[in-house]
């Protein structure tokens, strides 16, 4: 069997996601496991405090919404970059909606002016979930300002799956978050080689999702 140092590409990640669903483990389950894993890592290091989650509108943001739900006892604010109506995936939307009746504070950041700078800077932990491994195209506002704010803070920054802005295959990007810790899912990404403090966590992707041929092998 391969060890955790095995590296996967962004193309393989997309295929594995689809093939997991094909062998019976839907994305919503993987998102739950990913978010719970992030919350567990936060608990290993902190027992209370103020947490800012900066979340994008894709599945990376969805993982963070789950983490927020599992961070009971912390003072959590989720700052969604954009409006809730523009959340791109069904799974992320479900997990956003699940936060509505909780103690988690929700904010929709429609422009960079809406970013609560003071709250971010005063936080004990910032969770970076703006962009994941599916990143494409140029970084716009308010994401660009959010990345700058994270990098300007003296706060402990945790990136989910990959530092926002980084291409998972090359490690490059026009603007990248510099985290204190990256919690990456399932397997190592090439772009993360040489990045300090990367933790690879299992999110319950079944072995069959990688071993068996499935629709993920031919669908983009």
């Amino acid at each position: 069997m391969e060890s955790v140092t095995e590296i996967i590409t962004s193309k393989q990640i997309r295929a594995i996601d689809i093939n997991s669903e094909y062998v019976g483990i839907p994305r919503l389950v993987l998102m739950e496991n990913a978010g719970k894993a992030v919350a567990n890592v936060v608990r290993e290091r902190f027992d209370k405090g103020k947490i800012t989650i900066l979340a994008g509108r894709g599945n990376n943001g969805g993982d963070a919404f789950v983490a927020a739900r599992h961070l009971k006892g912390f003072d959590v604010q989720v700052m969604l970059l954009g409006s809730a109506d523009d959340i791109k995936t069904k799974e992320a939307k479900i997990n956003w909606d699940r936060l509505k009746d909780t103690k988690v504070t929700l904010a929709e950041v429609r422009s960079s002016k809406d970013l609560d700078k003071t709250y971010i800077m005063d936080s004990d932990v910032i969770i970076d979930a703006i962009f994941g491994t599916g990143i494409t195209g140029k970084i716009r506002e308010p994401e660009a300002t959010a990345i700058d704010l994270i990098n300007a803070s003296n706060t402990f920054v945790i990136s989910i799956d990959i530092p926002s802005g980084m291409n998972p295959d090359t490690g490059k990007g026009e603007k990248i978050v510099h985290p204190d810790l990256t919690i990456t899912f399932h397997k190592m990404k090439r772009g993360l080689i040489g990045v300090p403090n990367v933790k690879v966590v299992d999110i319950g992707i079944p072995e069959e999702a990688e071993l068996l041929a499935g629709p993920g092998d031919f669908r983009c």
């Binding site: 997309r14 295929a15 990688e210 071993l211 041929a213 092998d217 031919f218 983009c220």
Partner: protein, 261 residues
């Protein structure tokens, strides 16, 4: 994942496939050729011995037929085939050739001329290793005789053996069976689509055609892996309708459905 199709592409861009087969049998190369077309190839040419080429041509107006010289594939055909290879992206060879000595000699001369080649059926027993740019599609019996190896029943051990053979031979191996094993020597994957109804004659010819079509625009490993998946899935759709009465042509008819999300 397969390469997406460019909307600006024109005839030929999505694969020109040369099928070399027939002689002992007539239907096999036609099944391969029609499967390649259904899997998205633009142009499929069948090069077949003159004794059978007319019959193959009469099966379908979608096929281009190139008539060879004799009643089986012979070394004298190599010059014609060399010209044809230059006009095609992928060669699929072996189906219905028969096990004659001249055909085996011709295969040994042709295979090294191909940049991308899918080798099946009777051509498998004529091979010399190592090979480059080749996908071989043996069933268990064919694999054991071409490799002089005995395949264990245990799937994990069997997969390791296929992986090692792929590495040593340079060829991508698609071992056909209840569980197909696909390896390029680095990666190994399993395909579970397909059903016992597919033991009917001709489904292997269909698989070779699908893999050939995919190989035109994808890596050998992806073509073999996805080809096995699509072939089995098309067979599963055919099984739903015809049960154990399914035919290889039913599998061909279901290829487009099997390629959809």
């Amino acid at each position: 994942m397969l390469a997406p199709r460019n909307s600006e592409s024109h005839k030929g861009d999505n694969g020109r496939i040369l099928v070399i087969g027939g002689g002992a049998y007539v239907g096999a190369p036609a099944l391969t050729a029609l499967a390649a077309l259904r899997a998205g190839a633009d142009i499929v040419t069948v090069a077949a011995p003159s004794s059978v080429s007319g019959i193959i041509a009469s099966f379908s107006p979608n096929l281009i037929i190139s008539s060879l010289t004799s009643d089986v594939l012979v070394p004298d055909d190599v010059p014609i085939i060399t010209e044809l290879i230059a006009k095609h992206d992928v060669v699929v060879i072996g189906m219905g050739l028969g096990k004659s000595e001249p055909a085996a000699r011709a295969v040994r001369a042709i295979v090294p001329l191909c940049k991308k080649v899918v080798i099946d059926a009777d051509a498998l027993s004529a091979l010399e290793f190592p090979l480059q740019g080749a996908i071989i599609t043996p069933h268990v019996g064919e694999f054991e005789s071409l490799s002089n190896m005995h395949l264990p029943k245990d799937l994990k051990k069997r997969t390791e053996m296929i992986k090692k053979f792929a590495k040593d031979s340079g060829a991508v191996v698609l071992l056909k069976g209840k569980m197909d094993i696909i390896s390029d020597g680095e990666r190994a994957k399993i395909n579970k689509t397909g059903n016992p109804g597919m033991t009917v004659g001709g489904t292997g010819d269909v698989l070779a055609g699908i893999v050939g079509a995919l190989y035109a625009t994808n890596s050998a490993f992806e073509a073999a892996l996805v080809g096995a998946f699509i072939n089995g899935r098309a067979g599963d759709f055919a099984f739903n309708k015809y049960g154990f009465g399914l035919l290889a042509t039913d599998v061909i008819d279901n290829i487009p459905k099997a390629m959809k999300p």
